[in-house]
Amino acid sequence: MVGEITMKKYILNSFVAAAILFTAACKPEIETPAGTTAGQANFSKYIAIGNSLTSGYADGGLYLEGQKVAYPNLIAAKMATVGGGNFTSPFFTDAQSNGSGYISLSALVNGTPTLTPVPGNGWRDAPTNTRLFKYSGEIQNLGIPGMRVDLAFAPAFSAANPFFERILTDAQVGATTYFQYVQTKNHTFFSLWLGNNDVLGYALNGAVTVPTDPTTTLTDKVNFSSLYANFLNALTAGGQKGVVATIPDVTSIPYFNTVKPSLLLAAAKAANPAAQALFIQTGTGAVRAATDEDLIRLPFQSAGLFGQGTIPYGLHPLNPIENKWVLDKDEVAKVKDYVNSYNSSIKSLATSKGLAIADTYAYFNQVKTGLNIQGVGINAAFISGGAFSLDGIHLTPRGNAVIANVFIDAINAKYGSTIPTVDITQYRGVKFPN
């Protein structure tokens, strides 16, 4: 019996030991270099230079939710583990959280979206809505919606652009250029994603340049290159390191690929089988039948023009879709040519300065084809694609997270840093009405 008791004790002890081992048990460990070093870079004061994409503009407006998930803000949060400092942005206050106003998806019936404006509450001259509430604090996210490489050197633009006017003192408004402004921040590291609007403004207007509106022009290729060089010279004047980004092919965004001529024609035929072709007026003034190589702007969908009138609009050579709604095949080629030219300037200038290059041009071409990232399918489809917000131009929070990683990968590859990547699954696509 004594032996038996000893044995029982032994078994019991073994089980206690096993249980301790079991519960203490040793979580599986995964070793990682991420978040350990800044490499050759110094992230203590990062500034982000750019346009609407950099500011967090989304859904046709600049508003607080979008500002908070702007890609530079996501990058800066990850830089914190490798010596990054505080990162400041001109956030709207909670009372102004709708900012300049934006659009929301209010209904989706049989695949047809209803987009509803959410009025802005960030205007200080409401209801005129030309001037936003001023922001006077320190700023490192320097993204200005509408900013262009050429207009970054125009003092008048700081008065004309409400987003830039908002962050300037009264003395600076109309006097300070964006180019001057970005040099005043004592930065140690910068990102520069500028130039999209030098071609996008033209494209968004259907490739129609309005003489009185400098945001609808195409920036001359040589001029672009020399102004961009000025930026890089100024931003690296103190030996700072940084990352520049190429310009996406603006013709691949949902804004130009949702209202397709073939879909319009199919809808017209469904209503009236006599409809034979879709007619457009091209940039040369010629009228011809449209193909899917001609891109129609997204707002045409809700313009209420199509098929209207005694001579049905868009369905007869005598009443074609006007030039301003269409980026015709030749205009598409022209826009692509400018994008390619700007990008070759950006890449060669950045290379000569030894800067990292985030090739968002190449990346968005992949997005257009569609790709799966961390279990999320992302493509360039309007609403369902997940990357582009409801304006068909700017990014969703998810799109910002994806692009933040393109920047982070480029920075890490160039400078041997280990900025951790952003978990894109924590960021939403388009909000669907419930």
Binding site: P28, T32, A34, N110, G111, Q301, T425, F432
Partner: protein, 407 residues
């Protein structure tokens, strides 16, 4: 133009099995020996390990055991410094066996109820792989009545019919967002059944070295009328109808094992098992929905599994009349090819270590305990279908105990 076509492209819910779902816990003595023992007529668990050996068991017996299993898996996205862990959930693989036959006769009957496949993985609803999987609870319970016959004093054959009762609950997040920003969610829940067999040959040579050849057939488990519940914003409801159901087939693979038992002394025996797990049956996974989901009544995911294999070496030492000690080591090769690793079965090649002991206070009563440990090697993967990109590392801990009554 009245409509802009909106296609919400969401890949199909996935369902993956791996070595990770093959539960190697079917008898406390064998577990203590890393799962080897098909060539030893150790006890009533031979119903599972080798029906041909059952007839060589000296006594009639019944036994029941359980092996609470903790599957601790961690994931880290490529480039991230955040490691995420599965929640601590304890899966209860169990086993019940009964063996009966007239004394000194040439045949014995057996019954086994055991859980050869299963998985309990809960990553939580907010982890970085949530769009691939949030949780899986898979249980396959095999019922196996068996007949074992002694052909000669040294050769036995046996075979059993297998009925499988399978339960599956699989959940993941959907990358569509509600107005408050939260994600959609899908839950697939179903019960199914399948049939197969288990047959074995046991040979004891004149040198007392024994051999085993065992084949456990594949069991294609059919799930009919499982519920497919999609939580999505109401504006997407027409694409994800409520009250939907699905049918699917879950192929559980065949296993062929070759075993050797070597008596080192009167009190000590070595057992070696080599198993070939025929996972190639798992080429794709197809769900057929009663009502179309996002415009498609069927979703098909490529799996392209290879066959897996395992090698296990165990030792059983009768330390005294009442006490037996056991230990084992093993290594298993994963059937999951690069590019197909998923959070359901974050599979990789694995080491196995085990220890066990048995205590026999009376001639009728026996208690056995075991501790089973698997170290699944770290594996950095980018899944071809989902793009989930990161490193998985898994450790498995399973203590177990069983009670046996013999007569």
């Amino acid at each position: 133009m009245k409509k802009i076509l909106l296609s919400v492209l969401l890949s199909a819910p996935l369902w993956v099995l791996g070595q990770g779902f093959q539960v190697n816990l079917q008898g406390q003595k064998q577990i203590g020996m890393a799962g080897a023992g098909s060539a030893l007529a150790l006890d009533e668990a031979s119903v599972f390990f080798n029906p041909g050996a059952v007839t060589f068991l000296e006594k009639n017996s019944v036994s029941a055991g359980v092996n609470p299993l903790l599957f601790k898996s961690a994931f880290q996205q490529s480039g991230s410094n955040v490691t995420e862990n599965v929640k601590n959930k304890i899966a209860p693989p169990f086993e019940f066996y009964a063996v009966w036959g007239p004394k000194s006769n040439k045949w014995k009957l057996g019954l086994g109820v055991y859980t050869p496949f299963g998985g309990l993985v809960d990553w939580g609803n907010d982890w970085s792989g949530k769009y691939s999987l949030t949780s899986l609870n898979l249980k396959a319970i095999y019922f196996q009545p068996t007949l074992s016959i002694k052909i000669t004093d040294r050769i036995g054959i046996g075979a059993g019919f297998v009925y499988n009762h399978g339960d599956v609950n699989l959940q993941r997040a959907l990358p569509v967002n509600y107005p408050d920003g939260r994600s959609g969610h899908v839950t697939l829940d179903g019960t199914g059944k399948g049939y197969g067999w288990n047959a074995g040959l046991y040979i004891k040579t004149l040198s007392n070295i024994s051999f085993a050849l065992v084949h456990k057939s594949k069991v294609v488990t059919k799930l009919d009328g499982g519920t497919a519940e999609f939580d999505v914003p109401n504006s997407l409801r027409s694409s994800f109808p409520a009250g939907n159901t699905f049918n699917a087939e879950l192929p559980l693979p065949a296993t062929t094992s070759l075993g050797v038992g070597i008596p080192l002394s009167k009190s000590t025996a070595l057992a070696f098992d080599a198993s070939w797990v025929q996972w190639h049956v798992y080429q794709d996974l197809t769900f057929n929905y009663a009502q179309p989901v996002n415009g498609s009544s069927q979703t098909k995911s490529e799996r392209n599994y290879h066959d897996g294999s395992s090698f296990k070496l165990g030792i059983n030492h009768q330390a005294s009349e009442k006490l037996a000690l056991r230990a084992g080591v093993g290594y298993a090769f994963s059937p999951v090819q690069d590019g197909y690793v998923t959070p359901e079965a974050p599979d990789a090649n694995r080491y196995i270590l085990s220890a066990g002991l048995g205590y026999t206070p009376t001639s009728h009563f026996e208690v056995n305990a075991s501790f089973f440990f698997e170290d699944v090697r770290s594996r950095k993967q980018k899944n071809i279908e989902t793009g989930l990109d990161g490193t998985f590392k898994t450790l498995v801990y399973a203590p177990g105990i069983s009670l046996t009554y013999k007569w």
